[in-house]
Amino acid sequence: MKEESKEFTPNILYALCSWCGSGGSETAGAMKLHYPENVKPVRFYCTGGIDPVYIFRALLEGADGVVVSGCHPGDCHFDTGNYRARRRIAAVKTILNTLGLDGDRVWLRWVGHGEGKRFVDTASEFDEHIQEKGPSPLKGIRGV
């Protein structure tokens, strides 16, 4: 997948719920759809179980971007987790933007169980998006 000419390979964390988000990744696997290797999935039971601190932590410890996918609104396996997740992620992006720390390094996009193509498209699109941005300055902040 990697082209030689690429100077910067982003370090990307893809946070998924165990149901639709993971399902999307598995459908992609079943359909053998490819996405960049530097996108690394991490799974939670529900997007509603993703603490904003995890996202901050990832950005401070080396991730250039974090993308979150889970069941579409109304389709949450746990009924309401994704609504709560959406609020939390709205807060994360808002905090980062307010402090000039680029909330656009955090993406939320719903991916359903059958949506394998949507999953790999999201991984690739986010990878390109972060490549354009360049390395995250957050992980390099020294001393804090």
């Binding site: 459908t27 696997g29 053998k32 039971y45 509603g48 179980g49 603490d51 939390r88 169980h113």
Partner: protein, 996 residues
């Protein structure tokens, strides 16, 4: 003669599956006959009507689980041949042919495809082998053998590492002895010929709704989903047609609510193609479900045009466009669009004839299977039941409910339970041992090595400081490989294990069993998706190793901090409290009591019967009184039912399995009743009305009052007018009461019999399913129907003692008048707000914005509804089941179904003295010393699994209600809430490792 304990389910509709799941949970085995070669070869109602708009996993995933547990046996390529015997002891001759590839054993390694020497070119030019995979939705690939081209050379069988293939499988006949038979055949979609009026198959760019959805499975709806088949261009104008409303009588039936699906689809189109001009054609908008009327409003808001003609036809136009000719009477209009989407109905079941012959069940006049009045799924033949779309055009809620609905009826014919879950292996204690992590890399029988350098990965992993052992394994998904891997884990001496495998979504139980066979608690293990996250989705060799290594490293960081814990359970009571003595309450009470559980039935009035005391018969002519009398007699005389009349509920405490409810009977001392589950069956009421001279003119009455007048013969001759949608479907009451149109038609037909002239002013005639017949009948019998629009309700004035109605003609907008003697107002159903609010506060079950309970929603095809309905978790509402019209307006028969389904769910849990957590040991917990009792976790828990102890002010977990979603963990600012396998320190270090 002893009764058999097995149930036979014929067909793969969703109700049938859910019957099998429900029985499985109660310890009964089911044999399911699938006519197809694979799981969903025949589309059922859900797949036909909601192919994309919900996640189907909850319906499929349990099947694997129940088969694995031995509670379900699925036979493919099978057919029912003969039924002998009687209820409790049927001998059923069946034919089956096992699939060439056993999907439950298959590891999806593709070796069979590589080995197959037969090349086939499909009509579309695509090359494949004689053994090939079916492009599937969701995580499974289904391997099929093409009978036409397969030479039965056996190469694939030799190549298969798991022994999943048998190319010599033959058709076999066998006789099985079962106690009950459930007929659950699938959905029949209209054919090209059936849809010729709409040009489908003949005119370019006319597509079926389900096909549009299915074509977009991997992406969901995007702009591309709506490209024209003829030229791939994005259409500028799109029409959506609810075909059943315009087709010839008897060809296709409006399955539940096609008009809602049409509006829903139009809204979706507008979301991705906001610039497109979207027109919906439907005669009536039959949005009687929750949220449906709001959906319609939104459609108008976003600029969707809704056209409501009497007739419609589609023809080809130049430029591969479609011209729709539509109109009212002789008034003709035309519209030409780029693309047309047909929302189609349902045909009478093709299987009816055969099944009638074999099973002796009877078809009704529409060709669907006839069901006994007021019953759930009972056919004319004792012990043979019919469920789902086989018995009528149905929506998703009904097909879901008909899974649990008939269980008590089925149980009557069955012997003792015959499935015992296997005992889990003995686990060893790892207390006092330093963590020793072993990594076991699955090679999937050597196939992963062909795609990546597994040995290099093993070396890399072995070098990690946190890993004490790394080894490549053959597999851990077939009995021999599970055994072998368990031995390897044991031999390695590790006390924590990482299995890098295909995916736990598919084979979780097998992986868990493997590590448990090695004596390890599943909490001491992690399963990495080597196949789905690396092997199948990447190609760069070094990058693949690096990614796999970081996944392993991250898992070790998590696992190092893992702690073993046993599966949890909690006490479960065995008695029920039913609040409300109407038909739903009584039916639920009887079902539960019949199975031997004590029921307390509380009724606030001095008489059982509820709404049945006011209704004579329904639109279909079924007599309520007779049904009511036998039901009241059965309930009042039942040894297990205690009936408390003149009694109200005043308070309550506790949770599922453990409720203590305070009741007060008039003139007696207050009392507390213990109940494991609670049914809220208090019904609803007639909406209060203060318009159209109601209460001011003696001729104006509600439909219910009118019915009573007709019944008692007190109505003098004269003209009768009716106004529909009085006080509802407006901005303050934005929903349809579902039953009023049927009620009006019933009264109108009765009135015509008695010689009255009848005029009905309506906005939409909501006669869904077979009720449409009565609408047609009423037109035939001379009932006059006059449509009006929302903002133009007829005006009513008194004139010389009679009533003068002024209305606006929808076509020419002219004012016209009518003189009538009587006026029936369809005021619809309103929630009993005060009582609902009180009970909602006592039991903590939320109300929706309209004042009904929010525990269910019948909003097909709204994703939300389908999802909530599908969830196979009986205690999702904390053991409190709102039923009937406490949920939303619905008819008596429809209400009874909700009661039966709730009772069915209750019957799954009531027999168990202790109930295990649904997610075994993976429940949430509380670090008590850190908890300050803020209650955030209680607020966000979707399952009522938490409470703050009122004495200690510390949160507690009700184990068997916890589904481990993690909402509590995020809501808790201090880290007092945790999930056993997602403790904060483990997650943080896993993230650190992953991004390092």
């Amino acid at each position: 003669m002893e009764k058999q304990s097995i149930t036979l389910v014929y067909g793969t509709n969703l109700s049938g599956y859910r019957v099998a799941y429900a029985l499985g949970k109660m310890g009964y085995k089911t044999i399911l006959l699938n006519r197809g070669r694979y799981v969903d070869e025949f589309r059922n109602q859900v797949l036909a009507q909601l192919p994309l708009d919900l996640c189907w996993a909850c319906a499929y995933a349990p099947q694997r689980l129940f088969v694995g547990m031995g509670a379900m046996q699925v036979l493919y390529n099978s057919e029912l041949l003969e039924v002998k015997g009687e209820a409790g002891n049927f001998d059923v001759r069946i034919r089956k042919k096992d699939p060439y590839v056993n999907n439950y054993i298959c590891a999806e390694c593709d070796k069979c495809i590589e080995a197959c020497p037969v090349e086939v070119t499909d009509p579309d030019g695509r090359k494949r082998k004689a053994i090939y995979t079916l492009p599937k939705m969701f995580w499974e690939n289904i391997y099929l053998v093409d009978e036409e081209h397969c030479t039965h050379c056996g190469e694939c069988e030799k190549a298969c590492p798991t022994g999943a293939i048998h190319v010599d499988n033959k058709v076999e006949e066998q006789v099985v002895s079962v106690g009950a038979i459930v007929l659950a055949p699938e959905f029949d979609e209209p054919t090209e010929e059936d849809l010729s009026r709409f040009g489908w198959g003949r005119v370019a760019n006319v597509v079926k709704n389900a096909d549009v959805a299915r074509a977009s499975l991997a992406t969901n709806f995007t702009r591309d989903s709506f490209r024209r088949p003829s030229d791939g261009k994005i259409p500028h104008s799109i029409s959506v047609i609810a075909t059943a409303q315009f087709n010839d009588s008897g060809v296709e039936y409006e399955s539940y609510n096609n008009s809602v699906q049409a509006i829903y689809r139009a809204n979706k189109i507008k979301q991705v193609l906001p610039e497109a001009e979207v027109t919906v054609f439907c005669r009536q908008y039959r949005g009687f479900g929750k949220g449906h009327y709001r959906m319609y409003d939104r459609a108008l808001e976003v600029g969707i045009e809704v056209v409501r003609p009497d007739h419609l036809k589609l023809a080809e136009a130049s430029g591969d466009r479609n011209t729709i000719t539509y109109g009212w009477g002789t008034d003709q209009h035309q519209k030409t669009v780029d693309l047309t989407i047909l929302v189609t109905g349902q045909k009478p079941p093709a299987q009816m004839g055969r099944l009638a012959e074999i099973c002796g069940v009877e078809p009704d006049e529409h060709g669907f299977c006839r069901i006994e009045p007021f019953s759930c799924a009972r056919t004319n033949r004792e012990g043979i039941l019919a469920v789902g779309e086989f018995t009528a055009p149905k929506g998703n809620p009904e097909t879901v409910w008909e899974g649990y609905g008939p269980v008590s009826e089925i149980l009557k014919h069955l012997g003792p339970p015959n499935v015992e879950p296997p005992k889990p292996p003995e686990l060893r204690s790892v207390n006092g041992e330093l963590p020793k992590i072993g990594v076991f890399l699955c090679s999937c029988f050597g196939t992963f090595q062909e795609r990546m350098d597994l040995e290099a990965l093993r070396e890399r992993v072995e070098g990690l400081p946190t890993v004490s052992h790394a080894e490549i394994i053959q597999g851990c998904c077939t009995p021999p490989t599970m055994q072998e891997t368990a031995q390897k884990i044991k031999a390695s001496g590790v006390n924590r294990a990482i299995l890098a495998v295909c995916t736990p979504t598919q084979k979780l139980m097998k992986f868990r069993k493997t590590v448990m066979m090695a004596g390890l608690n599943p909490l001491l293990t992690e399963f990495i998706r080597l196949r789905e996250d690396v092997v199948n989705v990447h190609s760069e060799p070094e990058e693949m190793i690096r990614k796999a290594e970081s996944l392993v490293r991250s898992a070790t960081a998590k696992l190092k901090r893992a702690q073993a814990a046993p599966p949890l359970s909690d006490e479960m009571g065995s008695s029920a409290l039913v609040i409300g003595g109407g038909p739903t309450g009584m039916e639920a009470a009887r079902m539960i009591a019949d199975r031997g559980f004590p029921v307390c039935l509380v009724e606030k009035s001095d008489r059982l019967g509820g709404m049945l005391n006011r209704l004579g018969k329904d639109l279909e002519g079924r007599d309520f009184a007779a049904y009511r009398d036998q039901l009241v007699e059965a309930v009042e005389g039942h040894a297990n039912i205690r009936v408390c009349k003149n009694t109200v509920v005043t308070g309550g405490r506790g949770y599922a399995g453990n409720f203590h409810v305070d009741i007060q009977t008039e003139g007696q001392a207050p009392e507390t009743v213990d109940a494991a589950i609670v049914m809220l069956a208090i019904g609803a009421r007639e909406r209060k009305v203060n318009a159209f001279l109601y209460g001011k003119h003696p001729g104006v009455m509600t439909q219910l009052e009118l019915e009573e007048k007709i019944q008692t013969g007190k109505l003098e001759p004269g003209h009768v007018a009716m106004i529909q949608c009085v006080g509802s479907r407006n901005s303050t009451v934005p929903y349809c009461s579902r039953v009023c149109c049927s009620h009006a038609l019933k009264n109108a037909l009765d009135l015509r019999e008695r010689g009255h002239e009848v005029t009905i002013f309506y906005r939409d005639i909501n006669t869904y399913g077979f009720k449409e017949d009565y609408y047609r009948l009423a037109v035939e019998k001379g009932v006059v129907f006059i449509r009006f629009e929302e903002g133009r309700y007829p005006r009513v004035e008194e004139e010389g003692g009679r009533l003068l109605i002024t209305y606006t003609h929808t076509g020419n907008r002219k004012q016209e008048t009518l003189i009538t003697d009587y006026l029936g107002l369809s005021v619809g159903i309103a929630p009993d707000e005060e009582a609902n609010r009180d009970l909602s506060a006592i039991f903590g079950i939320p109300l929706d914005e309209d004042g009904y309970y929010d525990a269910e929603s019948c909003a097909c095809p709204y994703e939300d509804a389908a999802k909530r309905l599908m969830k196979p978790f009986e205690l999702a509402t904390n053991g409190v089941f709102p039923v009937g019209t406490t949920l939303a307006p619905r008819s008596v028969t429809e209400s009874l179904l909700t009661a039966r389904q709730a009772a069915g769910q209750a019957l799954v849990v009531l027999p168990k003295a202790r109930l295990a957590s649904p997610n075994a040991m993976y429940v949430s917990g509380v670090h008590e010393a850190l908890c300050v009792g803020c209650g955030n976790c209680v607020d966000v828990c979707p399952y009522y699994a938490r409470q703050v102890n009122p004495i200690t002010h510390v949160a507690e977990v009700r184990n068997f209600l916890c589904e481990s979603c993690g909402a509590c963990v995020v809501a808790c600012p201090s880290g007092a809430a945790y999930i056993r396998d997602f403790k904060e320190e483990a997650v943080i270090s896993a993230i650190d490792s992953l991004v390092a």
